[in-house]
Structure formats: structure tokens, C-alpha cells
């Protein structure tokens, strides 16, 4: 079974790097992973998409991810321009970078009847500013994705970040990703409890 992730953001937000680091984290866990950018005009500020497939076995397919198991939305200004949820599988996950609740974002209509524990927001840009001093949400959201989906562990994400970045950039990103992990984990637990109760 292949787990497919699609990451939406804007040029300059590290969309492609996020897919790359996710693949490095999965590889470190002994799985096959394939990360690649979309083939569109990539300029600072322009909508950008990147993909990551994770599988226990060799990945041969090279088409873009049309039916993601998880979608990361790095920039909420995309929500009403790009069909970011296109093809999302039943029971898929959505992680949105926002300090606002899903309800106040008004994306309930876009996501249909998704289970509440599978769609969460996390203030990744705020966390990045707090821990890193720069508004780059990509790695922060990988911490959130690890908590939401369990597809990779937080330590694997941390190791992947350390391979790519060093010093305060690595430390800040890791601190912010860890905070996002904890925020998302508590949200998911609350909702699972609420549903069970």
C-alpha cells in the first residue's frame, strides 16, 4: 500500500523541501519514498505543489499524486483558488496551516463529511516565527503530519531536518515542528475522545 501526500503552498514556503524531507524521514524508517515537485511555473508567491509517496515496496509510478491519503495546505489563501482537496481518498487526512479553527476558515463545505480527527489546523507560520524567527511553515507542518497520520515518526522528521540544515535553522525548525506535533496530537486525541464519548 502506497501512502501519498500532496503539499500545497506558495513559491518560497519550502513546499518542495517539505516533500523531500518527508521522503528522507520515510527512507530512514526503512521504506521506499519518492518526492517530486509538480511541473508548473514555480515563482516566489505562485501556487506550488509537491508530492511524496511512501511505500514498503519499490515505487515505480511517476504520475502526479491524484488521490492523496494526506494533504498539507501551507497557505490558506490557496483554499479558494486551488482545489487542494481534489481526489482526497475516503478517510484521508488534511493539515491546514492556520491559527483559526476549521469552522472560521469556512472550509467545511470543501471537505465534505470528513471525520473530525482527520482534519486539523495548526498555526505553523506563528510557530515558525516564534521558534525560528522566519515565517516558513514547511518543516513545522511535517511535525503536525507526523502526529496526524503517524506515517513517519517525529524523531525521523528531526533526523531529516538535521541532515539538511544545521545550527539555529535546524534547532528552530525542530523546536517548531515538535510544538506542532504536540498541538496536533492533543487535538486529535480530544476529538477521538469526543467521538468515542
Amino acid at each position: 500500500m502506497v501512502f501519498q501526500v500532496r503539499i500545497h503552498g506558495r513559491g518560497g514556503q519550502g513546499v518542495v523541501t517539505a516533500a523531500e524531507l518527508l521522503s528522507v524521514a520515510a527512507f530512514a524508517e526503512g521504506r521506499h519514498a519518492q518526492a517530486f515537485p509538480s511541473f508548473g511555473s514555480e515563482r516566489t508567491g505562485a501556487p506550488v505543489v509537491a508530492f511524496c509517496r511512501i511505500s514498503a515496496t519499490e515505487i515505480r509510478v511517476r504520475e502526479p499524486v491524484m488521490n492523496p491519503n494526506a494533504v498539507i495546505v501551507q497557505d490558506t489563501t490557496l483554499l479558494h483558488h486551488v482545489d487542494v482537496f481534489s481526489g482526497l481518498v475516503d478517510g484521508g487526512y488534511v493539515l491546514v496551516n492556520s491559527a483559526h479553527s476549521l469552522e472560521s476558515l469556512g472550509i467545511g463545505d470543501l471537505t465534505g463529511g470528513m471525520t473530525a480527527s482527520r482534519i486539523v489546523t495548526v498555526p505553523a507560520t506563528d510557530l515558525a516565527l516564534e521558534h525560528l524567527g522566519r515565517p516558513v511553515p514547511n518543516i513545522v507542518l511535517l511535525g503536525g503530519l507526523a502526529a496526524l497520520t503517524g506515517i513517519v515518526s517525529l524523531p525521523s522528521v528531526v533526523d531529516a531536518v538535521r541532515q539538511k540544515f544545521h545550527g539555529s535553522v535546524a534547532d528552530g525548525n525542530i523546536a517548531a515542528a515538535t510544538a506542532a506535533f504536540e498541538l496536533v496530537q492533543s487535538q486529535v486525541e480530544e476529538r477521538v475522545d469526543a467521538q468515542a464519548g
Binding site: 523531500e20 521522503s23 521506499h32 519514498a33 519518492q34 517530486f36 511541473f39 515505480r60 504520475e63 481534489s86
Partner: protein, 417 residues
Amino acid sequence: MLKQVEGSMAVAEAVAACRPEVICAYPISPQTHIVEGLSRMVKAGTLTSCEFVNVESEFAAMSVAIGASAAGARAYTATASQGLLYMVEAVYNASGLGLPIVMTVANRAIGAPINIWNDHSDAMSQRDSGWIQLYAETNQEATDLHVQAFLIAEELSLPVMVCMDGFILTHAYEQVDVPEQAQVDAFLPPFVPRQVLDPDEPVSIGSMVGPEAFTEVRYLAHARQMQALELIPQVSADFKRAFGRDSGGLVRPYRIQDAETVVIALGSILGTIKDVVDEMRDQGVSIGVLGITSFRPFPLDALREALAGAKRVVVLEKAFAVGIGGIVSSNVRTALAGQPTANYTVVAGLGGRPIGKDSLHTLFEQAGRDELEPLTFLDLDHELVERELARERANRRSGPSAENMLRDVGAVGPRLH
């Protein structure tokens, strides 16, 4: 060493392990990451005894490679698209002079209209340049082919192009077992040139040859490529013994035994096709796929043998000859001469258009029923073409077609693919 790495970096590391002595390059997407990687290694001192020459154009890049190779240095460069076109005169000189240069072509479309994304138009435009052309299916193969390419090139005194799909491979992160220096040293001996500009033993390279011997010199180039048909599988087998991996060779069959339908393709699309073949096989469809790794020399005998039992072949290619149709398919038809095998040409993936499994399923099902036209453009938006043709009929000054059609599709905003 097995690692999760960008295709371009894996290739750069493999090229570095081949101990090139001169690298010259001019940046062009999607080749840039490869030569940037190599330039960093030279600057950092991890790639020693190598001069990295920044040149002012692709024409200069190939000219420097020619000069370096003629002086006895192992020479490497990389390019793509318009960059390859810009160096064409020197490309023909490199092969005509028999200089064993290795060049990566990070396959990209050719303009106009300008388009930076993947197809095979660039490399296919040089199919008759006298270079050996090897096409990589994966980043592992792209990496391995470079190691094999130097051996093949130097053994035959012929230049080799290693073609890898731009972006799809060059910019993809996947696991690659990057060859270790010691392994490469054991596999690839130092370059012993067949001809060399040596002040102690002066020779001329590049004389004018008139009608008295031109045909024979050109025929020799063909004869060398025929030798390559023998050498390429040997090098692939030697590589497998040394590295434990299947890479290279002439053709790559997959589930073609007893297959009524055989799909033929080059490069990274083979992976997607293999998945579709498996799914169709599960449904009882008799289908397989044959990858062509060596497009030049073209392995006529290997194809004939592999296609002996096929009822039909579908050649899926990422370039086409305007005014007639398929390029790969016309070569395949030469291999099938005298056979009753039906053959279909499908042009797909131009300028980076994704080739999806759904489209391939539909296509191969149509092929299985022999309902395909001889020439198909996969996922072609007929309506879009028709609208432009209608504009041209209606208005003498209908304006630039590409811009008209872009306006029709509204392609100024974000698109998923």
C-alpha cells in the same frame, strides 16, 4: 551507499567517482543541479585532479570538452533542450572525431513555445549525431549508466549521451545506491586515449577529408556503433557482477513472454507503464512492456527477438517528427519489417504533461481491441485545437496561436498539473 537523494546529486556523485579531469558546463534547467553539484565538489576539493570550466555557452561547453578529450582528459558535460541545440555543431564534431566524451541530457522540450519541462524532443533531435544514446528508467539507472557510459565511450572512442527525464528524474528524491569510489575504480580503468594531442608525438586531429575517404570514415562511425551493440550488454553484465544490479543493456523486457500486446517506451515512463501492466495482467490481459535503453545504436535484433510473439506493439514516445509522426516507432517498424505485427504510435507527455495510469489503461484497452488509430496523441484536447483552427479560418490576423490557446485554457492561474 544507499541513500535518499535527488537524482541530480546521485548522478553528480557517480560522475565524480568516474574521476573526470575536465568538466565544462553552462547551466540550463533541468540539468543545472548536476553541474552545480560537481562544481561544489571541485571547489571543496573532494573531486581532485579535475578542472571545472565555466563557459559562456553550450557551444563553448562542447568545444571545451572536445579540446580536453583530444588532449587525453576524461571529459564530461551536461545540458538540455535549447542548450543541446545550441551546441549541435560541436556535438557532431565530437562524434565525428571519435572523442569519448560523456554528456548528460536532462531531457526537456524544445521551444517555441518555450517550455522547461520534460519530453524527449531534445535528445531525439540528436539521434543521428553519431553519439551513443542511453535512456535511464530510474535515478538508480541514471546513476549507473554514467559509470557504464565512460567505459563504453572510451572502449569504442565514441561519445555517449546519458538521457534522463528532466524534473521527473533529475528533481525526484528517491533511494539510490550511489557507487562507491573503490567500486568505480575497480570497474572503470584510467582513460587510455586512442588518439591524443601530445607535443612529444604530434598528430593532427580534424583533418579535411574529401570524397576519397569521407564515406569510409563515416561508415567507420556506423561500424563502431554496431560494435557498441555487442559491448553495451557486456558492460551491463560486467556492471551487474561488480555492483550486483541490473542497469543498462540494450532493451529491458517486462512480462512480455506470451504477451499479445507489447508496449515500447524509453525512460522514466516505464515505471508507470509497469504498474499498469501488472494491473491489467491481474485482470487477465495479455500485455507486457519493453524498455529501450540503447536508442543509439538501435538494437534491431534484440527488438525482433523480444517482439517475436507479439500480435501488436504500442510505441509510446515523448517526442515526434512533425509531418510524419513517431520517431521511436519508425525505428521499431524497421525491426518489425516483414512481420505481421500491428503497430501503433502514441505521442505522450510532451512539455511535461503528466502521463497518468488512467489514460494508459484506456489506451492499452483500446489497443487490445485494435481500435487505436495508427497515430494517437494521448489526452489531446481536440476542442482546444479546433477553436484555434476556427479562429484562423475566421480571421486572417488571428494572432499568435500559443497565446490564443493559453487564453482559452485560462492557464494563468494555478493548476494541479
